[in-house]
């Protein structure tokens, strides 16, 4: 069986861990336990074993630890749809990532679709699509588009 490393990248508290856990273990927790360093899980999609690196989120104090991303076959960029600035941040995040590991297949998750505070503008989505990324509006809480996100990523890297 083929194995591929993929990484979850984005600002802190956007739901990287929640999406991974929903996909791998089909669980969701309201509790916020920030990831320290990296957490690794595995899941099998279409005959491929995804080794999912759930990397600690970025904030003003700590940049993303780029060495965790080395060797990744694909990236899932995650933003919080109720905090529009996290969507904008994806562009700059991607630039630093690309500098380190080069161009790899990428999908985008705009997460927390279930919340009423959702405030992503069509312009924002357009700018993401212009970069060639496939954008998913996900909800880790309700399991919306979580499968789709990972399956798409898997297809891109096969």
């Amino acid at each position: 069986m083929d194995k591929k490393k993929v990484c979850m990248v984005g600002d802190f508290s956007v739901g990287k861990t929640s999406l991974t856990q929903k996909f791998v273990n089909n669980v969701f927790s309201e509790q916020y336990l920030t990831t320290i360093g990296v957490k690794i899980d595995t899941a099998i999609v279409d005959e491929t074993k995804l080794i999912v690196w759930d990397v600690a989120g970025r904030d003003s104090l700590s940049p993303i630890n780029l060495s965790y991303l080395v060797g990744a076959s694909g990236i899932a960029l995650v933003a919080d749809g109720t905090r529009p600035e996290t969507v904008d941040d994806l562009h700059s995040i991607w630039d630093t990532v690309e500098k380190r590991i080069g161009k790899v297949p990428t999908v985008v998750a705009l997460n927390k679709r279930d919340l009423p505070e959702w405030s992503v503008t069509p312009e924002q989505i357009q700018s993401l699509k212009e970069r060639g990324w496939i954008v998913f509006e996900t909800s880790a809480k309700e399991g919306v588009e979580v499968e789709g996100l990972f399956t798409q990523l898997c297809r891109l890297i096969q």
């Binding site: 083929d2 194995k3 490393k5 595995t42 080794i51 690196w53 630890n65 080395v70 060797g71």
Partner: protein
């Protein structure tokens, strides 16, 4: 000099030069710097003297920022500065861990009373090697549990072998974690790229890692493995690197082309029991062994003698204490006699015959007992049997702690012992609910005193009155015979009369 200057001179007088000097001072950067430098230190001192809270507040951010910046740019230098501070506590932690390990081993073997533990203790005593260390040397097994071949950059697991098939975690995740830890170590502790994670401890497991350019080989070990294993680890990695150099370079996540690699890895799955060299220990031995043998023989002899006497004492105690009417409190050997202390009913019998069969003669027993009246069931049984002289058909026996006197008893015997029996029953020392007079004894009595015609008019039946079975004599008799009958069974608790006077013949 203009008029204006003239005017200025008149107003401010000779201070004009001073003024110019002052102006110059304010405008010149050098001057200002000198001035601030002069007051800075006293100003800080003054602020500190009055608590210094404001000062700390305003310095907090810049100091912390510059520290961060400084560490980031020169991590090696700061590591060197911090090393003397941290090294002692690291060392202390390690030595604590080791001593607590020794303690655990010591304790666990302490509690074991196995032969081997005793052997170890003796050995420790003779050779002077600390017990815990011997235990450590003998009982420590090291075993390589898992070996992982990991692609360095991606952290993908290429190959894995285990010494047991009890694998609870996902090996792919474990492989990735090794590489994550490696990245973390590299990023967090060193500026250069040449320092690598080679040892790590996870709970009771030691993990040793060998690094190649594109692969790493990690093995998970329980116990303390010898340094030689590290060499094996690198040898194996080198072998894999040469055998599979093309496959490694091309690796994209498909490990099927590494099928033979586990063969090379399998010689790392070592299990070793470290045994202490018996012969060497014996040669070093400071105390010869034979005095111990003699001591052991003496101990054995004394021990056996003591054991034999103890056994006799226990036997005597058991036999006597179980005898009705005897309650022993203390038995001991005095010269060649067994002294028995306790209580003894004068009626109680000493089971000399039984004692004899266990090798205790009558003359060996020295009774120093205090007399008492035992109401113990066994004793009572013995006493009643002697006292009541049971006729045939009547029995005494013990059931559930009570003594039963039961059966069909001759009427005259009942009459004779009636008071005693009734009294014992009232005291609840005897249960007589199943004692009854026998038919024959009563009818024998009647036959002796009455004519055949009279006897024909009487009949007998049994009846239970107040939980006591009695005989009832019923029928009709003429007045004369009836009087005789009434005298015969007057006040008898065992026979009741239900006989009517018969009309005289002459009248009919």
């Amino acid at each position: 000099m203009s008029q204006l200057d003239e005017l200025r001179r008149i107003i401010v007088g000779g201070n004009a030069d001073q003024l110019a000097d002052l102006k110059n001072r304010i405008e010149s950067l050098e001057h200002r710097t000198n001035d601030v430098a002069e007051v800075l230190s006293p100003a800080i001192d003054k602020e500190l003297a009055s608590g210094g809270d404001r000062l700390v507040e305003s310095f907090k951010e810049p100091v912390s920022r510059s520290l961060k910046q400084a560490i980031r740019t020169e991590p090696a230098e700061y590591a060197e500065i911090l090393y003397p501070v941290m090294a002692p506590s690291i060392r202390r932690a390690i030595s604590q861990a080791i001593s607590s390990l020794l303690l655990t081993i010591n304790r666990s073997i302490d509690s074991a009373t196995s032969v081997s533990a005793w052997k170890l203790r003796m050995q420790s005593w003779r050779t002077g090697v600390p017990y815990a260390e011997l235990a450590l040397r003998q009982s420590l097994v090291y075993r390589v549990e898992h070996v992982y071949l990991i692609h360095r950059d991606t952290g993908l697991l290429i190959k894995e072998i285990s010494s047991s098939d009890t694998q609870t975690l996902d090996s792919d995740a474990i492989g990735a974690m090794f590489s994550a830890i490696q990245s973390f170590v590299q990023d967090s502790f060193t500026a250069g790229n040449d320092s690598r994670l080679t040892d790590l401890k996870v709970g009771e497991y030691n993990v040793w890692v060998a690094h190649g350019a594109q692969t790493m080989l990690a093995c998970v070990i329980t116990g303390d493995a010898p340094e030689a294993l590290k060499q094996d680890l690198y040898d194996t990695l080198d072998q894999i690197r040469t055998d599979y150099s093309i496959e490694i370079a091309r690796f994209q996540g498909d490990s099927s082309s590494f099928d033979g690699a586990d063969l090379a890895m399998s010689n790392l799955l070592q299990v070793r029991l470290k045994d202490i060299d018996e012969k060497q220990a014996a040669r070093k031995s400071k105390v010869p062994l034979w005095p111990f043998l003699i001591l052991a023989a003496v101990l054995l002899f004394v021990g056996y003698h003591w054991f034999e006497r103890k056994t006799l004492l226990d036997t005597a105690n058991h036999l006597l204490d179980n005898q009705p009417g005897i309650a022993t409190t203390h038995l001991f050997w005095e010269d060649d006699k067994i002294v028995v202390q306790g209580l003894r009913d004068p009626d109680a019998k000493i089971p000399f015959a039984t004692l004899e069969s266990y090798g205790i003669s009558e003359s060996q027993i020295d009774l120093r007992t205090i007399p008492f009246r035992s109401l113990e069931v066994g004793m009572e049984l013995q006493r009643f049997t002697e006292e009541l002289e049971l006729p045939s058909g009547v029995y005494l026996s013990e059931r559930e702690g009570s003594i039963y006197l039961y059966g069909e008893a001759p009427f005259l015997w009942l009459q004779h012992n009636n008071n005693r029996i009734r009294q014992l029953a009232a005291d609840r020392r005897l249960n007589i609910s199943q004692l009854s007079p026998s038919y024959e004894s009563v009818s024998d009595l009647l036959e002796q005193s009455f004519s055949k015609e009279d006897l024909a008019r009487l009949k007998m039946s049994s009846l239970v009155v107040d939980e006591q079975s009695v005989l009832v004599v019923g029928g009709q008799l003429d007045i004369q015979s009836l009087t005789i009958l009434q005298v015969m069974f007057a006040n008898s608790d065992w026979v009741r009369l239900n006989v009517q006077p018969r009309p005289l013949k002459s009248e009919s």
